[in-house]
């Protein structure tokens, strides 16, 4: 009667190990599956092409602070100076920087009557010149570029033309060419004269990122973009500052950065998220495998006699090894299945509260496979030691 309790407790002991392992694997699978899903989603987001020669476009701000400066005139002179600098392939003024997170956006109507007409999706409203396409390295796939004499001074001037991104063209006119089509602000017309293959807007987290329009307006005295080979940028910064300051010293010229740098800054939070989550996944796998190793080692110590007896009765080293592996896989698989369902539940919660897409089932599945690989290593090392237990040693004390 007295022996029942110790036996029971020893049973409990041998059970608690696997149960703990199971819980750990369940939680790990749930976390790793969701984390790797988010990582993958962010990576995909960061790899979208912008349609711009990001590395080669150098941008900077000019702030004219002398009230007596004729901004429009100065703008013309400045752009001529920029284009005349050595190594500059193209240069233009702009009202906003691509992928920068700030800028202008608007919508237009498809008909002249604002009450009845449908409107376009929200698009990034670039103001540019006949040099914009070349400066940014955009690919014109339909229609034509602006002519020099078509460029207006203000957004309110008549003769409004537009070059739009293909994504916008296909959304607004799905089945026909956009060239020659008209859009409206009240009863004022804007004509589409060209379509570029790809041109992203300013807000990388927006659903409307691919919708962009270049209007034929030379936006004076604000931001300029210059195309040059990457190696020339450093020297060009000094050359630009010097040349423009020589023209007129009453201004501040600063914020030199390439579009690639602007982009990097905009995606910084996502990069941060990827880094932290990756760190979490790696550490989690490390901790789980360390815990597993510790527990298997303990199991082996406790079961030395059992293993020795089995060896004495004819079990090969391979048999012992596979005993531990099978044991591990059983726990892993059941933990994996439970963990995957927890991962799905967790994913649904995240989806409900935050702006996350639905968890792809591939991720829990891959996590379980990954977990099995990692734990195999964690088990094989101590299990090989167990297999090496000599039957004589183990059974001597019996």
């Amino acid at each position: 009667m007295l022996n029942i309790k110790p036996i029971f407790s020893s049973l409990l002991r041998s059970k608690s190990g696997p149960v703990l392992l199971l819980v750990q694997i369940i939680l790990s699978v749930a976390i790793v599956a969701n984390a790797s899903f988010i990582i993958h989603e962010r990576l995909e987001m960061m790899q979208r092409g912008s349609g711009i020669a990001e590395e080669e476009v150098l941008t900077f701000n000019v702030f004219n602070f002398d009230p007596s400066i004729d901004i429009d005139q100065q703008n013309k002179i400045d752009q001529q100076i920029l284009r005349g600098l050595p190594n500059v392939q193209a240069a233009t003024s702009t009202n906003m920087l691509p992928l920068s997170g700030s800028g202008w956006s608007s919508t237009l109507n498809l008909g002249p009557d604002p009450e009845t007409a449908k409107s376009t999706p929200q698009y990034a409203m670039y103001l540019g010149t006949e040099h914009t396409i070349k400066t940014l390295g955009l690919k014109l796939i339909e229609g034509r570029n602006f002519y020099a004499d078509e460029i207006n001074k203000s957004v309110n001037d008549p003769g409004k033309l537009m070059i739009i991104s293909k994504a916008l063209a296909e959304t607004v006119w799905p089945d026909e060419s956009a060239i020659g089509k008209l859009l409206y602000i009240d009863d004022e017309q804007l004509e589409v004269i060209g379509v570029v293959e790809k041109f992203q807007g300013a807000w990388v987290d927006s659903d409307d990122l691919e919708y962009s329009v270049i209007h034929n307006v030379d936006f004076a005295g604000y931001t300029y973009m210059v195309r040059a080979e990457v190696g020339q940028h450093k020297a060009l910064q000094d050359a630009i500052t010097k040349a423009l300051m020589k023209e007129n010293p009453n201004r501040v010229i600063d914020d030199f950065q390439s579009v690639a740098e602007v982009k990097k800054l905009s995606y910084r939070d996502h990069e941060l998220m990827i880094t932290v989550l990756s760190m979490m996944v790696v550490l989690l796998l490390l901790i789980t495998s360390l815990g597993l190793t510790g527990m298997v080692m303990f199991n082996i110590q406790r079961r030395t006699k059992q293993i020795g007896t089995r060896r004495a009765l004819g079990a090969t080293k391979g048999d012992i090894l596979s005993l531990f592996l099978v044991e591990n896989y059983l726990i892993c698989l059941s933990g994996g299945v439970l963990g995957a369902s927890l991962a799905v539940v967790l994913g649904q919660q995240l989806m409900k509260y935050y702006d996350l897409p639905q968890l792809n089932l591939l991720y829990p599945a891959m996590t379980v496979v990954g977990m099995m690989l990692v734990t195999t290593v964690a088990v094989v090392l101590p299990a090989r030691r167990a297999a090496n237990i000599s039957p004589a040693m183990a059974t001597r004390s019996v």
Partner: protein
């Protein structure tokens, strides 16, 4: 007795160094991750207004037409701001926006520099408790009758005037002279709650100008401007007359009666405006007004990104994995020592004593884990700020973490140790004595 247990714990830890190291490592990694995300979160979720949070209220209007925006905009129109300023119902109030100009002084050696500027009313300094080093805010009369006066920050004062008392001196903004009337101390609330729209964690401005100058000087707008309908903007006057929203409006309303009274004043105001043909959407005057205190305002401005909440959640789960992990290791370790416990029990130690002895040991391990975890967190925060240029205000390890970390660490360890300690204290002495 406690110290004796601590001594026993230390001996036991030294006896099984690898297992103990594994446990400390497991706790520390879990704590490190949790504290890192928690620290960034708590910094972001911090409310700098403190006990004034409820008294400071940002005003929002549903001024848009029907079928346009489907939420309150955080900014309001110039007309509304001017009307509220004239109404002067709140004990203190300030309209504001962000602008920027090139700064020069009489000293030709000082190169012109581009500076962000806050254009606001004199009450701003009182409402947001801005400390003055020299001088004071501009006179109340200036808020009605514009004067070319400026309040500058200590940092700019250092650069322009070498840090001396510059009250009465002249700075030139876009070539126009402004008289310095006050220098404020190092004041940089994080998050920048009075205007989170232009970067919630950017530094506060170094120049403050009277809002009353806006119409005369046509200050450029460096913040957001949004419109819900097409309005031609040929000049600055068009902007002032338009329905475009680009201003923040803050009020200081000390008591809840004040707030209720102000709300009905606003509703009344909207009703008047409706008669004038504005506020055309089908919404009652009371529902066209929103007053958010600082906490609500930060919430509405989405100062804490969703990513951060996800990270805090995941790291809490991570910590629970570590907890289970330690539980397993602890069980291993304690059961290994069951024979020793058997002897102690036989000599006369009670279950309670054995239990508390092991809990102390677990606590010591938790404490070590917490300390190492704090190091991890410190390193991780440092790496984040170095690698990602995350704002200093966010990666600074908050003082409260020095208290929170050991608490979480020891708490986690004790939680994990409960079961193993319970199992081991139930050891029957007879079993182990017999086999010896």
């Amino acid at each position: 007795m406690f110290l004796y247990y601590v001594d026993l714990a230390w001996r036991s830890i030294r006896k099984t160094p690898i297992l103990s190291l594994l446990m400390v490592l497991a706790i520390s990694v879990g704590i490190g991750i949790t504290i890192t995300t928690l620290n960034v979160y708590s910094m972001m979720a911090y409310n700098p207004a403190g006990e004034r949070s409820e008294q400071l209220n940002a005003i929002q209007f549903w001024s848009q037409g029907p079928d346009t925006w489907d939420d309150f905009h955080r900014l309001i129109t110039y007309q509304d701001a001017m009307n509220l300023r004239k109404g002067k119902v709140a004990p203190a109030q300030a309209a504001m926006f962000r602008s920027g100009m090139a700064v020069q002084t009489d000293d030709p050696e000082v190169l012109p520099r581009l500076q962000g500027i806050r254009v606001t009313d004199g009450d701003f300094f009182k409402m947001f408790e801005v400390p003055f080093v020299y001088g004071n805010r501009w006179d109340k009369a200036v808020d009605l009758d514009p004067a070319y006066q400026a309040v500058i920050g200590e940092k700019l004062n250092q650069k322009l005037f070498g840090g001396e008392n510059s009250v009465g001196k002249t700075i030139y903004l876009n070539r126009k002279p402004y008289q310095v009337v006050g220098v404020i101390g190092d004041w940089n609330p994080q998050p920048k709650y009075y205007d989170p729209t232009s970067g919630a964690f950017s530094r506060s401005e170094q120049i403050f100008l009277p809002f009353s100058l806006t119409a005369n000087e046509e200050f450029s707008v460096w913040g957001n401007s949004s419109g819900w309908k097409h309005e031609p903007m040929n000049n600055y006057q068009d902007r002032l007359n338009s329905e475009k929203v680009w201003l923040e409006f803050w009020t200081f309303l000390p008591t809840s009666e004040d707030r209720a009274a102000y709300k009905s004043y606003l509703a009344n105001y909207v009703e008047q405006q409706k008669e004038l043909g504005r506020f055309t959407d089908n919404k009652s005057p009371v529902d066209s007004v929103l007053m958010s205190d600082v906490a609500g305002w930060l919430e509405r401005s989405h100062v804490v990104p969703e990513d951060n909440k996800i990270l805090v959640g995941l790291s809490a789960l991570f910590l629970s994995v570590c907890l289970v992990n330690i539980l397993g290791l602890m069980l291993t370790k304690f059961l290994k020592r069951a024979p020793e416990v058997g002897v102690r029990r036989a000599i006369g130690a009670s279950r309670g004593q054995i239990f508390s002895q092991y809990m102390v040991e677990v606590g010591v391990i938790g404490l070590f884990g917490g300390l190492v975890g704090l190091l991890w967190a410190w390193g991780a925060l440092y790496a984040l700020s170095a690698r990602f240029g995350v704002s200093e205000g966010l990666t600074h390890l908050s003082m409260s973490m020095w208290l929170i970390t050991p608490t979480i660490a020891v708490g986690t360890a004790l939680l994990a140790g409960l079961y193993p300690a319970w199992v081991v204290c139930r050891t029957k002495p007879s079993v182990y004595l017999k086999s010896q």
